[in-house]
Subunit: 389 residues, 2 copies
């Protein structure tokens, strides 16, 4: 095993395919584009290893074994490769494995990427596929799709804290407002509170504007050890914290369904590893697959007291100029949520923020970013802390 | 990140569910059994992380997100977990990630496991699922299932080296003879050359006895750093080499379809890392999904010259007492091939060999074992070297 100074891990390149409905591009096409773009951005010939997050390739594209396939089609035949899957946080799980591969000293340059092709399906296959992130026997089998699971969570939260639907609007409005400045976002369009309220119901009380869209997309980041990053002149953003925690897949098994234990554990561990507290965080890329998930994440992560997240949003504190900006480039709601790729988009967006290259989305003075990708309704939570060097 | 002496990685516990048709057990049942058994064998309370190899959960069990699910159902809710997929070498890919996790210093006790439920399907869904290990556009779409791909390889090999079907019999006979002594094997029954020759054709010239069976199974191994292994009194078997290499998924893209580049590269790298040559190897757990794969693996790995593997087998040199014993506990052909679990069965079997606990399957004086798990027709190859301490 080659020896390297592997105690520090840098992100030295990023690549993003605009999120959307790519009818003319297959899963492998999207993946290859993002991968080649990230490798070019890093200024290296080829990565030594590739970890690819994907959830629905088997069901919607009749293709597994994507690690080797995408490596080959991108021109990197021969390198180490594997697919990593943890439902909707497959992307961040791939990032975690890439991080560990650098830390282990096994490799100097490793790509973490995610790719998902969701729009090309019929008869609700995508929704059925996503239900495989939940417990097939306890949830999916009785009809609990993800909108339904989130409807239960949202209803219960409204009951516990005496809230109305309009109290959730600020989260959707924030994500949409932020997406306007992101050229890779699916919906670059601000929405009004009225548009939020008048949008069709998906699974009452979850409305269309509470829900992240199905989308096609692929994103990649190139990781390197400190010496390699230095040699390439590409220091700038470092991963200072990385942690994964899990919980039951089924809501019914949870201690308290409104408190995401795995969010609490992985956020605490990642911040601790970085030597940071929530007060140090410049922005938080929350997993807003549904507005209720943003809320439960903010509270379990320690950015808001329980029952207070809606007030935080209403007061503008989650916006770009607020106390804890979230979903700064549109989040899952407006950038889009190509499930296995989402966690890697979060990483690429955090890199832009920390390098001051986020354009109209820029959070002024961003130094410490937390990105959090969630599988299922909180069953796997992957949290990374990224810092400007 | 906790600091640990992570430069040496030990296997401190193993668990195997007997391979077979488990009509009364689901994918999660099988996985939980193997995991709990391995953790008990290691003498630890719980692992810190779990990497689970699986290929067909989405298609045949409507379940993904297996890492968190299996961790929870086994009683280890909260630990880090992810699924790793690289087609038929998903198991060894999980082992590779567990190895890197220990090497990185992130964890001290990590489980690598694999689980697969293949028998519970209708209308050829399992064969169609396995075809997702090949290139969906170039191979599967034109009807190339894995038996068909291996038929092309076998026919071409017979042509190039002027061989007949009976020349392949020794590989099937060896695997079956070895399985007799393995309580976890699916087919504990020796076969004659006549039985080999008279077995039904699957995809001419591939016959039933050239082909590993579809099966249900789950296996797990517990990895630990040297200090932890020492403290638990469970040193004994160490991973001294670990390497992954890839190739094109599609046969038609290969330089030479009878030479497995990724086998050559990953074997050479793993042996080099261990400071070993093929001469030092006591046994080789080859990926005998089809007899032709054993042959191509032996040749590309450097255990036989090109075109000579059949002669090696005919002379008895791949048997337990030969120069390079292969598939010592039955291999994929007779132990069975629950795809995502196979690579972990190989690891568990190598541990038994190196500890002198392989019973009737024991290779006398085994000190250095090479295990090799192959995805697709050689597109991902994961090779590990295990040594008695």
């Amino acid at each position: 095993m080659p020896q390297s100074n592997s105690s520090e891990v840098y992100i030295i390149g990023i690549g993003q395919v605009p999120v959307g409905e790519h009818w003319d591009q297959s899963l492998r096409d999207l993946a290859v584009r993002a991968l080649r773009s990230a490798v070019a951005d890093a200024g290296v010939e080829a990565p030594e290893a590739l970890y690819l997050g994907n959830m629905l390739g088997a069901l919607l594209s009749d293709q597994q074994h994507l690690g080797a396939l995408v490596a080959d089609w991108a021109g990197y035949r021969g390198i180490e490769a594997a697919t990593v899957e943890a439902a909707c946080c497959s992307g961040a799980s791939a990032l975690r494995q890439a991080y560990l591969a650098i830390r282990s000293g096994a490799h100097r340059v490793v790509v973490a990427m995610g790719a998902e092709k969701m729009t090309d399906s019929v008869n609700g296959a995508t929704t059925a596929g996503l239900a495989m992130a939940a417990d097939a026997e306890a949830e999916a089998a009785v009809g609990l799709s993800f909108p339904a699971i989130n409807a239960l969570l949202m209803r219960r939260y409204m009951h516990e804290f005496s809230l109305r639907r309009e109290d959730f609007a600020a989260f959707a409005m924030n994500s949409h407002a932020n997406a306007v400045g992101n050229p890779n976002a699916m919906f670059r369009k601000a929405i009004s509170e009225r548009a939020y309220l008048e949008a069709p119901a998906i699974a009452d009380p979850v409305g269309l504007m509470d829900s992240a869209p199905m989308a096609d997309g692929a994103a990649a980041v190139v990781l390197a050890d400190a010496e390699t990053a230095e040699r390439l002149g590409r220091r700038g953003v470092r991963i200072t914290g990385s942690a994964v925690a899990t919980d039951s897949l089924a809501l019914q098994e949870r201690r308290d369904m409104l408190y995401l234990d795995a969010v609490a554990a992985s956020t605490a561990r990642a911040l601790d590893m970085a030597g940071r507290t929530t007060d140090d965080v410049s922005f938080f890329e929350a997993h807003d697959a549904f507005t209720i998930m943003s809320i439960l994440s903010l509270e379990a992560a320690g950015f808001a007291s329980r029952g207070e997240a809606c007030r935080l949003a209403a007061e503008g504190e989650v916006s770009r100029t607020g106390r804890i900006p979230i979903c700064t480039m549109g989040g899952l709601k407006a950038r889009g949520h190509p499930v296995g790729a989402t966690g890697v988009y979060q990483a690429a967006e955090a890199v832009l923020q920390l390098k001051g290259q986020a354009g109209d989305c820029q959070v002024e003075g961003a130094r410490v970013g937390v990105i959090q990708n969630i599988g299922g309704s909180g069953a796997t939570v992957v949290t990374h802390v990224l810092e400007a060097d």
